[in-house]
């Protein structure tokens, strides 16, 4: 056992994460690969010898920058969050991937939209399947985001000092609903047309400016070709960009707050959790 291996084992034995593995002799294939010239060029970080090095490895990884390096044990488990935020985010990813595929086969005009969907379902490879993925992911995302909100409330995770991240979450819920609603029109079938007609009638009830709001949304006095184009642009460009930016702020604040040490009565236990990372 050379010095490097020995230090690595000691680093693990003293690990702050509870992973105590004194008997580990073989560092494993991945660890051996990481030490090759090629492996070092991929993973960038040198061998993680101590807990501090492991944290540094996390820091140095671009893909892990949305996560904190450490979290409270209580907040890592299923019981805490039911992982509803993760589920919402994964569904968003599924929607982006399937939505981009659908965009290749879709033109937002009343003459072509419906025919495009029919062609997609019959002639395009995986067309019907990807459309199903998009549809069910969208419905599930509305459910997951709403359930996430309820879970956060019952957990008391919206309380000081996290209040404003809850407000950002409410914005995300509204954006999710708007994304789902604008997407609902795009197949241009009877279901889409009349659901959006009913939904947009509500905007018309706003006092004084109701009709203006409604006509701006629809691009006319009723659902028609301008509506389809407007909803399409909102659905594939404006709202996803907005959602993406607001989601980044939401996750950034989650990461910064993840080290807070609060006892159940809401008092901060000490000041070591002031800075999230």
């Amino acid at each position: 056992m050379d010095l490097k291996d020995r230090v690595e084992d000691e680093g693990n034995a003293a690990g702050t994460d509870g992973s105590f593995d004194p008997g580990r002799a073989d560092p494993g294939a991945l660890a051996r690969f990481r030490r090759t010239e090629f492996g070092r060029s991929i993973f960038r970080t040198p061998g993680r010898l101590t807990p501090r090095d492991r944290a540094a490895g996390h820091w140095a990884n671009f893909f892990l920058h949305i996560y904190p390096v450490k979290m409270r044990r209580a907040e890592a488990g299923f019981r805490y969050s039911w992982y509803l935020g993760v589920i919402s985010t994964v569904l968003l990813g599924s929607l982006v991937v399937s939505g981009i595929y659908l965009m290749f086969f879709y033109v937002p005009t009343p003459n072509q939209a419906y025919v495009n969907i029919q062609t997609l379902q019959v002639d395009v490879r995986f067309g019907q399947y990807i459309r199903n993925v998009h549809r069910w992911s969208a419905h599930l995302m509305v459910l997951a985001v709403a359930a996430h909100m309820a879970r956060v409330f019952y957990r008391g995770a919206h309380k000081k000092p996290r209040q404003f991240n809850w407000v950002i979450g409410v914005v995300l819920l509204v954006l999710t609903l708007l994304l789902s609603f604008t997407g609902y029109l795009l197949p241009w079938d009877q279901l889409a047309f009349w659901a959006v007609t009913v939904g947009s009638e509500m905007a018309g009830y706003v006092p004084f400016v109701g009709n203006e709001v409604r006509e701006t949304l629809l691009g006319g006095s009723s659902v028609g070709a301008p509506t389809l184009l407007r909803f399409y642009v909102l659905h594939v460009v404006v709202l996803p960009l907005l959602l993406g930016v607001v989601l980044m702020i939401h996750l950034w604040r989650w990461r910064k707050d993840s080290m807070l040490d609060l006892d159940p009565s809401g008092r901060a236990n000490d000041s070591k959790g002031d800075d999230g990372d």
Binding site: A55, Q190, V198, E201, M202
Partner: protein, 177 residues
């Protein structure tokens, strides 16, 4: 060797004295039970769980998409109004409210109050405690509004038929996803 120490044990070695007795501890330091407030490394403890959840979600979506096709009705026809005329399911509660109250109340005031109220909730519910038993009022109020909203959604989605009249979903199905 007949000499004994004060605690009855024998001295370690001749010519050495016992100077003190300390409670047994592992050499490496204090071991303690893992506390729920302890910090754990995100890799692997959190990331592995998140990866499992992500895969489970993807599997659910991919399987649902095998068995259920997204609906596609006849092409949009502005001259042919379906009966009932249904909003998407997440607006079904609002549509149900519209059938009971003035449109200004059900279509504008209530949705605005719900969104503003939700946004302001952490500033209304300022009680700092997180224990459910110490925040019964907040939990009860939130639960009542949520149950009411879910009930209205289910009624509007599944229990309303032509002319927005009551139907039993197992007799006539009018829900649309």
């Amino acid at each position: 060797m007949t000499e004994t120490n004060i605690d009855g044990s024998t001295p370690v070695e001749d010519n050495r004295r016992v100077l003190g007795i300390v409670p047994g501890k592992p050499v490496a330091g204090d071991r303690k039970e893992p506390d729920r407030q302890d910090l754990v490394m995100v890799w692997p403890h959190v990331l592995v769980r998140h990866a499992v959840v992500a895969m489970a979600v993807v599997v659910v979506v991919l399987l649902a998409s095998v068995f259920f096709d997204a609906p596609l009705r006849a092409v949009a026809n502005p001259t042919l109004t379906p009966n009932p005329e249904k909003a998407p399911w997440y607006f079904a509660a609002l549509q149900e409210l519209l059938s009971h109250f003035h449109p200004l109340v059900a279509g504008v005031l209530i949705p605005a109050a719900v969104i503003v109220g939700l946004g302001a909730l952490p500033y209304i519910d300022t009680n700092p405690t997180r224990r459910p038993r110490d925040r019964k009022v907040a939990v009860l109020a939130f639960t009542m509004v949520m149950v009411l909203w879910i009930a209205l959604t289910i009624i509007g989605f599944a229990f309303r038929g032509p002319n927005w009249e009551w139907v039993w979903p197992w007799v006539e199905w009018h829900g649309e996803l």
